[in-house]
């Protein structure tokens, strides 16, 4: 992961920021780049946009962002890996985030994680081999009054037990059709 492409491939940034692949999602990144006038300080904002558009930060994206901001790739990589929010691996079709904050911990959120591990064979941070389900943990989702809290595909659910979580997820995975890949 050296700063391989930065120096050679981008002599100047006068290409208007267009990505050669023509993938329209790069337009979103370009818009953010322009909004911040290609300032290097905007790196995190740009990575947020990139992850929103693509779902995760593939190497190609990091290279593109590094070139546009004239930063060494190692720098961009260092920032992307420092923050938990950025993911360098693709996410599953569905996601289940279990809150492991203090309030949820006191209400035994660990048992929910254990049950997910037992049922789907995934540790937090992993995706099932069929790419259907990603499991993650979070540090307090700010709904502590309803602990333990989980988030399934963006929906916050409170007062969960291992049983309710499992049945919810099983129902979700059963009904989900084998769709064409998003994007």
């Amino acid at each position: 992961m050296a700063a391989r492409p930065t120096a050679k491939r981008s002599p100047r940034r006068d290409d208007g920021g267009e990505h050669p692949s023509g993938d329209p999602r790069f337009k979103l990144i370009d818009r953010t780049l322009k909004r911040f006038q290609y300032q290097q300080d905007a790196l995190i904002e740009v990575l947020h946009t990139a992850q929103e558009a693509f779902g995760f930060l593939e190497e190609d994206l990091l290279i593109y962002v590094a070139r546009q901001l004239k930063l060494p790739l190692s720098w961009v990589y260092g920032v992307a890996t420092f923050y938990h929010f950025f993911s360098l691996k693709p996410q599953g079709e569905h996601t289940c985030i279990v809150c492991m904050g203090t309030a949820c911990y006191v209400k035994r959120a660990a048992e929910i994680v254990a049950s997910l591990q037992a049922e789907f064979g995934v540790e937090p941070g992993q995706t099932t081999p069929d790419g259907k389900l990603s499991v993650a943990t979070a540090r307090c989702l700010g709904s502590c009054g309803l602990a333990p809290v989980i988030v399934v595909d963006g929906e916050v659910l409170g007062r969960e037990t291992p049983e309710t979580t499992l049945s919810r997820l099983k129902a979700l995975l059963d009904t989900s059709q084998p769709e064409p890949m998003a994007g």
């Binding site: 923050y83 929010f85 309030a103 540090r139 989702l141 502590c144």
Partner: protein, 574 residues
């Protein structure tokens, strides 16, 4: 817009609201929404439309009202009558509320939550005074309750020096953890030489189990923005940043909207309220790193870098963002600013204790009957919070400890329930006020496991820059893990204690320096639980499984003697 326009706007909005015979305020904060709040609001709207009451009855989506575990909650305001609050509202109950209560009949008794219970009467809402009463997405709602008049007053009637003096006199201290006097910090930044200066609102709120800042940003975003603008005027800054945790997308979105609305009306931006003061605010979204709440790391993150702390001094007040003097305050601290300017420093200093003025918001969670967000005067006792406001321990459990201050804090045992909650008293007990997470634990919580939980947190969140923290937290976690799985020896406990002191004294930033606190405070009050795990291989709370066998590093004979010295095991080792 000038001051007169502001007053006009407030008046027009008040009249508009009085034009409704009845207003239904629905909590639309995350906890209530996740217990079915959306369906309730829809049911209310449907029923009102069905009965063609749209002109006389208004449904408003508000921020959090406090008793989150009893959500979804709905407040009914009828002209000329005191407000009534409904709890656990179902769509069905919502329809009945419209049919009966709104139409002039009796309230729907089963869902009524009386407002004269200690949960409400013991609270004192200063920062949250609008939360749950206004639509956070409408500037007019905020202005109608006196919003931006403190900014207008400060700009016209006060010099920056006077604003700082007022905040100093109020005795306000930082709500982000350390409790540094806010006015003094403002004055330092005001006096610091610099071509440009910045104001940063710290909305990172990394402490697990705490959600005060999120609620304030979501429920009353303009309150924070007004506080920032007043701070900007006081210190001479023209640019502010509000750093919002990545996990709080709704808060970020509402703040963005609020900023745009305020800019459109000339309440932010250039020549604010026809004065010579310019102030812009930008939102920065965090990316999930606890250490970014630390002020130097936060600044690095705003500048797009890895959020790793640097040694202080120089303090941000001298050299902050891009090397310029920077004021960093917690979101809740800034939420106190407008009321202080409006009501005066003396009014504020009249609330709370001698050294801790004003109120504090706590996120009351864990094993209490009513969990939620509360704002109480400083100096209230823990007992009042847990038993009066929170309604005590459910399911017949007994109170064991209250954890305050998150991973930097500690546990307070039952014998100190009557301690007043203020900065000094909590510190004397080996805990801290912290940002305001207050987790109640009953006799089914194992304190060693709690310490392990926080150590795992610190280990994961250590930024890795300095060795004592990076390696020390891993070592301490490993020792705690051994204690909870039964494989620890008495020597391990001694090592753990030594490590605590070492990590505390040699780490670079607050994360490492305070990481041992939960261990030290549980050792201080619950040492017998540690000993029971190690010597009797028993978890008094029944949480740990203790299925590992100790790996003895000493000859068996010596180990047996050591154990016998304690008297709990009679010399035999398996």
């Amino acid at each position: 817009m000038n001051r007169a326009d502001l007053e006009n706007m407030a008046q027009r909005e008040q009249e508009r609201q009085q034009g409704f015979r009845c207003r239904l305020l629905c909590c639309a904060s995350t906890p209530c929404l996740s217990s079915g709040g959306t369906a309730v609001a829809d049911a209310l709207q449907d029923e009102i439309a069905r009965r063609e009451l749209n002109a006389e009855v208004q449904v408003v989506s508000t921020g959090c009202m406090g008793p989150c575990s009893r959500g979804p909650v709905v407040t009914v305001q009828r002209q000329g009558e005191p407000d009534l609050l409904y709890e656990n509202v179902t769509p069905d109950a919502a329809r009945r509320i419209v049919q009966q209560h709104v139409q002039g009949g009796e309230p729907v008794q089963e869902h009524l939550l009386p407002l004269d219970i200690p949960f409400f009467t013991k609270q004192h809402k200063v920062v949250l005074s609008n939360s749950g009463l206004i639509d956070p997405e409408r500037l007019e709602d905020y202005v109608a309750r006196g919003g931006y008049s403190a900014l207008a007053f400060a700009l016209r009637e006060m010099t920056p020096e006077e604003v700082c003096a007022e905040i100093i006199r109020s005795g306000l201290r930082g709500r982000g953890g350390a409790g540094y006097p806010t006015g003094l910090k403002w004055d330092l930044v005001r006096k610091a030489p610099g071509a440009r200066k910045f104001v940063v609102a710290n909305g990172d709120e990394g402490d697990p189990g705490a959600y005060m800042d999120r609620t304030l940003m979501e429920s009353d975003p303009h309150r924070v923005l007004e506080g920032m603008a007043i701070a900007g005027y006081a210190v001479g800054a023209e640019q502010g940043y509000i750093y919002v945790r990545g996990e709080y997308p709704i808060a970020a979105k509402r703040l963005e909207r609020a900023i745009r609305a305020a800019e459109r009306r000339g309440l932010l931006g250039s020549r604010i309220l026809d004065s010579n003061f310019n102030f812009r605010i930008d939102v920065r979204i965090g990316a999930g790193a606890f250490v970014c709440g630390e002020e130097t790391a936060l600044m690095a993150s705003i500048m797009g870098r890895r959020g790793q702390p640097v040694p202080r001094p120089p303090y941000p007040a001298q050299r902050g963002l891009w090397g310029m003097p920077t004021l960093i305050n917690n979101v809740e601290t800034l939420g106190n600013v407008a009321p202080i300017i409006t009501h005066g420093a003396d009014w504020f200093a009249g609330i709370g204790t001698e050294k801790s003025k004003g109120t504090k918001i706590f996120a009351l969670a864990g094993k209490v009957a009513t969990t939620g967000l509360i704002e109480v005067p400083m100096g209230i006792t823990l007992r009042e919070i847990v038993f009066d406001i929170g309604g005590g321990i459910p399911d017949g459990g007994t109170f064991k400890a209250a954890q305050t201050g998150g991973p930097s804090g500690g546990c307070i045992p039952a014998q100190f329930l009557d301690t007043p909650v203020d900065y000094e008293s909590l510190r004397a007990l080996g805990s801290i006020m912290g940002s305001g997470g207050l987790i109640v634990m009953d006799d089914r919580s194992c304190m060693v496991d709690v310490a392990k939980f926080f150590m795992e947190f610190c280990m994961d969140e250590s930024c890795g820059k300095c060795v004592p923290c990076r390696v020390g937290t891993v070592e301490m976690y490993e020792l705690l893990r051994r204690i909870t799985d039964g494989s620890a020896t008495p020597a391990d406990l001694a090592t753990l204690e030594e490590l605590c002191v070492m990590v505390q004294e040699t780490s670079l930033c607050g994360l490492g320096q305070s990481a041992p606190n939960p261990v030290l405070s549980t050792l201080r009050y619950f040492r017998d639980e540690y000993e029971a795990h190690i010597r009797e291989r028993r978890c008094p709370a029944g949480v740990c499984s203790l299925d590992q066998v100790p790996v003895l590093e000493w000859p068996d004979r010596l180990h047996a003697q050591a154990l016998a010295g304690n008297g709990s095991i009679s010399g035999e080792v398996n």
